[in-house]
């Protein structure tokens, strides 16, 4: 049984076809990367998995549970670390963490213990009594990852988790993510850092204009897609996943980095 099985997912927003029939299977215990330029459909796909976007067609199964018909069972197995810092603006972060544990069924004592462990692990314990507005950008990112781990999920979905994080912290997070993946957790990661995908992911899918255009191990993709054509842009490292990305999407990663964070109202 696959951890996540996506079949024929389509989604349109008015006249924009965000997903045009996506098929994807992510195996249990896999560290899977989803790469794509801005507006390719990465966040829409992740949101569909989490039940925050309702697909127009297709099905998604999480450990065999249909995310629409058996949403409750599916949601128990997953946790999302979104791009946006979507925590209560004025709640102390310790409370945010403790409530998160409770949402997934942990009693108060266990939630308190887990919150303390994770806040300490991510260097946020000293800030436990302040709200998100008093945290730096890097601290907010760490909080998001810590919160997503509160539920001890079997499947962890990370949407650009290291965006805007300094190099040292990024490498520290990579080591942490590798470790929790080795412990058996399935990880689905979207990133615009090619190096991140190369370092962490066993397999990578490249999504472009709402379709998966390639899906395989990074080395296989490199051998398949870097021989055929010369890179269409200069300053692209040859023989890397970045060259694969450029050849398949026609965009450089820097262009793909731009995203908008706006309240959805």
């Amino acid at each position: 049984m696959n951890a996540i099985e996506i079949s024929g997912i389509k989604k349109s927003f008015q006249n924009v076809h965000a997903l045009k029939g996506v098929d994807l299977a992510i195996r249990q215990g896999e560290f899977f990367g989803l790469l794509g330029p801005n507006g390719a459909g990465k966040t829409t796909l992740i949101s569909a998995i989490m039940g925050l976007v309702r697909p127009d067609a297709g099905t998604i199964q999480v450990m065999g549970y249909d995310t629409r018909r058996q949403a409750f069972a599916a949601k128990k197995l997953m946790a999302l670390c979104p791009q946006e810092i979507n925590v209560h603006t004025y709640f102390p972060i310790q409370k945010i963490m403790e409530f998160q544990g409770g949402f997934y069924g942990f009693d108060r004592k266990t939630s308190k213990q887990r919150a303390e462990e994770l806040l300490k692990r991510f260097g946020l314990w000293e800030k436990r009594k302040v709200g998100k507005v008093k945290l730096s950008g890097g601290m907010q990112r760490r909080l998001m990852i810590a919160r997503s781990l509160m539920s001890d999920p079997k499947i962890l979905i990370l949407d650009e988790p290291t965006a805007g994080v300094d190099v040292e912290l990024r490498h520290e997070l990579w080591d942490f993510l590798k470790k929790i993946n080795q412990n058996g957790r399935t990880i689905l990661l979207t990133t615009h850092y090619i190096e991140e995908a190369e370092q962490l992911c066993g397999r990578v899918a490249i999504i472009h204009e709402g379709k998966i255009v390639a899906c395989d191990a990074p080395q296989t993709l490199i051998s398949q897609h870097t021989q055929k054509a010369k890179p269409i842009r200069r300053f692209v490292r040859p023989g890397t996943l970045e060259e694969v990305f450029v050849n398949l999407t026609g965009k450089r990663m820097e262009e793909a980095q731009q995203w908008e964070i706006a309240p959805r109202l």
């Binding site: 949101s47 949601k75 069924g105 959805r264 109202l265």
Partner: protein, 254 residues
């Protein structure tokens, strides 16, 4: 891991949301209502003749308590949900294994708790000042609860529909406040001339306020059963509407 833990956590979260800011959420509405009583009751009340054999100050207390409960239930629910949409923390709750009915009940619980606190403290302070025990505590609680449920749900619907903070304020300023003021807080519907009395009878809040007055003072203008039935019926209908909107993901799921 117990099955009720996620729901209980939601309730705790909504309690925490308004009690941590009690100086802004609980204290001011109580002060405002007590000021209303002092100004309209003690300073102007002597110039108004008795209504249903009661002094004017006693007559307006139940309506003012009901008004405080309604307004605060509405404000709490609409603000909590709209803020959650604004900072997108609602997405985290929607992604968690929580049912629509649990989410609605939790948001509503915040509104009911805040509204009841304001309503009951206002009543307690006022009745203590006037040395008047409540006539029927059961009916008082029944009407306060149904009012806070109805207005809390109204706040939830408003927060789902709103696209700006302005939208929320508009509903409160131009719809809810006039309906409450025209719902017999300061006067008996018996004193209105024929046509205005007929028009007032279409204001559902009239029945809620009249019922509260019966619970507190034992006097009423309208049929108690009609008031009770309408209040409970409207509260249940609004609650069902909220649950349906959440289940459909109205303005929540894209």
């Amino acid at each position: 891991m117990g099955n009720s833990t996620p729901f209980v956590t939601l309730l705790r979260q909504e309690w925490f949301r308004f009690t941590r800011l009690w100086k802004q959420t609980i204290f001011p509405p109580i002060v405002t209502t007590v000021l209303f009583i002092l100004i309209f009751g003690f300073s102007l009340g002597d110039r108004i003749r008795e209504i249903h054999g009661l002094s004017y100050i006693l007559f307006i207390i139940p309506g003012l308590a009901a008004m405080g409960a309604m307004m605060n239930a509405h404000t709490n629910c609409s603000f909590a949900l709209y803020m959650s949409r604004f900072d997108q923390s609602i997405d985290n709750m929607l992604a968690a294994p929580l049912r629509s009915i649990e989410l609605v009940t939790a948001f509503l619980w915040g509104g009911i708790a805040r509204g009841m606190l304001v309503g009951l403290v206002t009543l307690a302070v006022s009745l203590l000042l006037l040395k008047q025990p409540p006539y029927h505590l059961g009916w008082t609680l029944f009407f306060l609860i149904t009012q806070t449920v109805f207005f809390g749900c109204w706040g939830i619907v408003g927060a789902l529909r709103a696209k700006t903070w302005d939208n929320l304020a508009t509903a409160q300023n131009f719809i809810i406040t006039p309906l409450i003021y025209l719902g017999g807080v300061f006067y008996s519907v018996d004193l209105l001339p024929g046509i205005w009395r007929t028009i007032s009878s279409f204001n559902p809040l009239l029945y809620m306020i009249d019922g509260t007055r019966y619970g507190v003072l034992g006097v009423h203008d309208l049929s108690l059963l009609t008031s009770a039935g309408l209040s409970a019926g409207m509260a249940l209908l609004m609650f069902a509407l909220c649950v349906i909107l959440f289940q459909k993901g109205y303005r929540l799921v894209r």
